[in-house]
């Protein structure tokens, strides 16, 4: 028995480790994907006043604090049985859309993009944002930086702080938007839209224009037939901020559609002793282990699965791209993991359109941004689509609104099992007896993983997708035979 350990920066640092065990024939016996971090928010938030949760849970993740802020404040609305005024809802969603734009951009250009833009077998030194810039032009790099700046700016204008926003309160938002701020935001959203279109162009040009990539996307190595989860509005169009959660089975048929508060009837989490992160699955189907298909409760909640779960996009340009993707990839649902990148670009476009739309809405200037709760606080669930999956916050309080129970299912966690499976499948696909373990080999494993853009800021806490790899090959006595590693982005 040999053990290959793929570990981001040796076993002493913890950002998700991959252990691949080979049998004596050198075939992959099993792989383990481990998350070595735990915070305990679910425990230490007990006793806190529920209205503080939007400001506490942001610290679960500094990469997507906006997602936690939104899920949390929505849970608070529910706990206090209060409906925020329309202006407040729009401000929240505007902030959220801006955040999506920034986050998806970061992933596509800095993390996921390089695999396609500069190619999976290119030398690692080039397979990074700089490589991308070289390929698509310098101004693109400036555009990315500029966009992130503007996105963060919009978040701070509405949320008070760019990282860890604060303005969400039960029944609305605390900060009014001034006319000047609004005008500024309109300017930024216009930029978002232009940038999104530009990005679509880039994707067309470098990915779809290259048959090799399309084949790779379609190749079985990166395919999993799993349930797909995503949030949809009343017309079953995709939405990030609000709506019902819809799950479609591997054949694309609606399996269940439920409001956030019913999530416990649909979801359950499985525990393994070798990782701190749990494995959510569909309760009705049940946990059958790391297996695919209709009978396995394992599901995905990724940009791709969101598109699978929806009947379309709520904005025109995104809808166009949506249809085009399914045409290109042979109809719904799409199970090819790497297609997630495409879906992400489409979501980027949607988010930009939504942001522009909301920014122009005059209601966001209204003074009526809060409804003061009057009912006795009790229990509530808040749910949003985080960039990396559906995010659930579930609070139970006493009559003073002091937390008694807290339950969280965070974006990346949804995909814990699929990630593990993708890694295993990729490993099976690329590691064979006698095959030398090259950068290409490693990267092909990594690509499977990276497509999920796993944010372990929520679970562990490495920045999205940053997974420098090292492979160590041990003989059955645990002696190091060869060690090979590669600089990642």
């Amino acid at each position: 028995m040999r053990k290959i350990l793929i570990d981001p920066v040796t076993r002493l640092e913890g950002h998700g480790k991959i252990a691949i065990f080979l049998d004596d024939d050198g075939e992959v016996a099993n792989t383990y994907f481990q998350v070595p971090e735990l915070r305990g928010f679910e425990q230490f938030c007990v006793g806190r006043p529920v209205e503080e949760m939007p400001r506490i849970t942001t610290r679960i993740c500094g990469v997507c604090p906006e997602a936690h802020h939104m899920a949390s404040v929505k849970a608070c609305d529910a706990v206090f049985h209060v409906e925020p005024p329309p202006a407040a809802k729009k401000l929240r969603e505007l902030l959220y859309s801006a955040f999506f734009v920034g986050d998806h951009t970061l992933h596509f250009y800095a993390l996921g993009g390089p695999d396609f833009v500069v190619g999976p077998d290119a030398p690692p030194a080039e397979r990074n944002i700089l490589g991308v810039v070289k390929k698509v032009g310098l101004e693109a790099g400036q555009k990315v930086i500029e966009l992130r700046k503007r996105a963060q700016r919009v978040v701070s204008l509405i949320g008070g702080k760019a990282i860890h926003p604060v303005t969400g309160v039960p029944g609305g938002v605390a900060k009014r938007l001034t006319a000047e701020e609004r005008d500024e935001i309109v300017g930024h959203t216009a930029y978002f839209l232009e940038f999104a279109k530009f990005t679509i162009g880039v994707f067309d040009q470098v990915v779809l224009g290259n048959q090799a990539y399309v084949d790779m996307i379609l190749s079985d190595t990166y395919t999993h037939r799993l349930y797909s989860m995503g949030t949809v509005d009343e017309n079953n169009k995709g939405n990030f901020y609000d709506g019902k959660i819809r799950v479609v089975d591997p054949d694309g048929k609606e399996f269940v559609k439920f409001p956030a508060r019913d999530y416990l009837q649909v979801l359950a989490e499985h525990v393994e002793p070798w990782t701190y992160l749990k494995f959510p699955f569909l309760k009705q189907v049940g946990w059958k282990g790391f297996v695919e298909g209709k009978d396995s409760g394992v599901y995905r909640a990724t940009p791709l699965s969101r598109l699978n779960a929806a009947d379309g996009m709520a904005t025109p340009l995104a809808q166009e791209q949506y249809e085009r993707m399914y045409q290109t990839l042979g109809g719904k649902p799409v199970h090819q993991t790497l297609a997630t990148h495409w879906a992400r670009v489409i979501e980027l476009l949607y988010a930009a359109e939504r942001a522009a739309e909301l920014a122009r809405d005059d209601e966001i200037l209204s003074d009526k941004i809060r409804t003061i709760p009057t009912a006795t606080p009790s229990e509530g669930v808040g749910c949003v689509e985080a960039p990396r999956g559906t995010l659930y916050h579930h609070y139970v309080t006493d009559e003073r609104g002091i937390l008694r129970k807290v339950n969280l299912i965070v974006g990346t966690t949804n995909n814990h099992a699929p990630i593990a499976m993708s890694i295993r499948k990729a490993a099976h696909g690329v590691i064979r007896r006698g095959v030398e373990i090259t950068d290409g080999v490693l990267n092909r494993i990594e690509m499977a993983f990276r497509a999920y853009d796993p944010c372990f800021g929520c679970a562990t806490h490495s920045l999205p997708g940053k997974m420098p790899l090292e492979v160590q090959v041990f003989d059955s006595h645990g002696n190091l035979l060869t060690s090979r590693r590669r600089e990642s982005v």
Binding site: M1, V9, L12, E13, G14, H15, A19, F21, A29, N30, Y32, Q34, P36, R39, G40, E42, Q43, F44, G47, R48, P49, E51, E52, R59, C61, G62, V63, F80, I145, R148, K149, G160, K161, I163, H164, V166, V169, G171, A174, L264, A268, E269, H270, E272, P273, W274, P280, R370, I372, H394, I402, N407, I409, H461, S462, L463, R485, R486, E487, V489
Partner: protein
């Protein structure tokens, strides 16, 4: 001459500090240009072994964010302390313990129990718990040890400087960086840098009155007036006990300060200082009435110590005897 070596590392934190560093935007390139970045796991790939291989004190500056939550965080702290000439606790987690530090008000056992057994979505009839060392059918698997308490960096290794904030605000990071890059003289070891000498009130700008508090409101209870001190309006705001430097962002967004920039200079325990201040200005001399007023403060510890339990004098909840 060779460029000064810079290392950045995160332990138990949310990653916000890293994003804050990236949020200095264009300027990040100047930093990258000035320093020879020898270690930055989240952005560049260098190996623990490389660091171990370096001569002690080889790293000129190490920005360490995140608290010490598990065995891995701790050994990294010790390693980087050895290798770095100047070790900086970067961000609230490393300085005060921050939100994850609230875990010190409960126990490791309670955390594991709720995470893996009590939470309603968990389906774990066998009561499985993650273990530091697991014998899988194919071989051994290990994960770091999860400690009882969260500790700040300085509670594990000697620290040269502290940059507070959750996260440290990019402008502050920039000021510190450019100061270093222009070769400014470093302040005496142990100083807090990248923050002001006063408190949040300095940056708040809301007019304030003499304080006579008879009633406390929670943020959801009232719509506060944006042109009046929140404390005067009965909303507990940590501003008076919190170091300046953030620009009073929260208060300007009409939300009370929660104290992420930590204790003011000359104050050893942010929370208890605020306890003293708040209780002093309660407008009553009758024990019973005072108690009823105090009842309106929901979760005193979680409010006054939101970011600083591990760095507080008492450090953690004592195991009930």
């Amino acid at each position: 001459m060779s460029k000064p070596k810079l290392a950045l590392y995160w332990a138990a934190s949310c990653g916000g500090c890293e994003v804050a560093v990236l949020d200095v935007a264009e300027k990040i390139l100047d930093v990258a240009g000035f320093f020879d970045i020898v270690f930055w796991p989240c952005a560049m790939d260098f190996k623990y072994k490389d660091v171990e291989a370096m001569a002690d004190g080889d790293i000129d500056l190490c920005l360490f964010n995140g608290a010490i939550r598990n065995s891995e965080n701790e050994s990294m702290a010790h390693l980087l302390r050895r290798k770095a000439k100047v070790l900086v606790a970067f961000g609230s987690c490393a300085v005060d313990g921050c939100i994850p530090g609230l875990a010190n008000l409960t126990t490791r056992e309670a955390i594991l129990e709720s995470s893996y057994q009590l939470t309603p979505s968990t389906l774990n009839p066998e009561g499985t718990r993650p273990l530091p060392l697991v014998a899988a059918p194919e071989g051994e698997l290990d994960i770091p040890k999860f400690y009882e308490s969260v500790r700040t960096l300085a509670q594990v290794v000697p620290v040269d400087y502290f940059i507070p904030g959750c996260p440290p605000q990019p402008p502050q990071i920039l000021t510190v960086m450019s100061a270093i890059m222009q070769g400014a003289v470093l302040p005496p070891a142990g100083s807090v840098i990248g923050a002001g000498e006063k408190t949040c009130c300095e940056e708040c700008g809301r007019p304030r009155k003499e304080k006579h508090l008879k009633h406390f409101y929670r943020v959801w209870e009232i719509e506060t007036k944006p042109e009046e001190c929140l404390l005067d309006q009965g909303v507990i705001c940590m501003g008076p006990a919190t170091r300046s430097g953030c620009g009073a962002l929260c208060v300007k967004a009409n939300m009370p300060c929660r104290g992420c920039y930590g204790a003011a200079p000359n104050v050893i325990d942010q929370g208890v200082k605020m306890v003293s201040a708040i209780s002093s200005v309660i407008d009553s001399q009758d024990a019973a009435e005072i108690d009823s007023i105090l009842d309106q403060i929901a979760d005193p510890v979680g409010t006054f110590y939101r970011f600083s339990v591990p760095n507080s004098i008492l450090h953690r909840k004592q195991p009930s005897a």
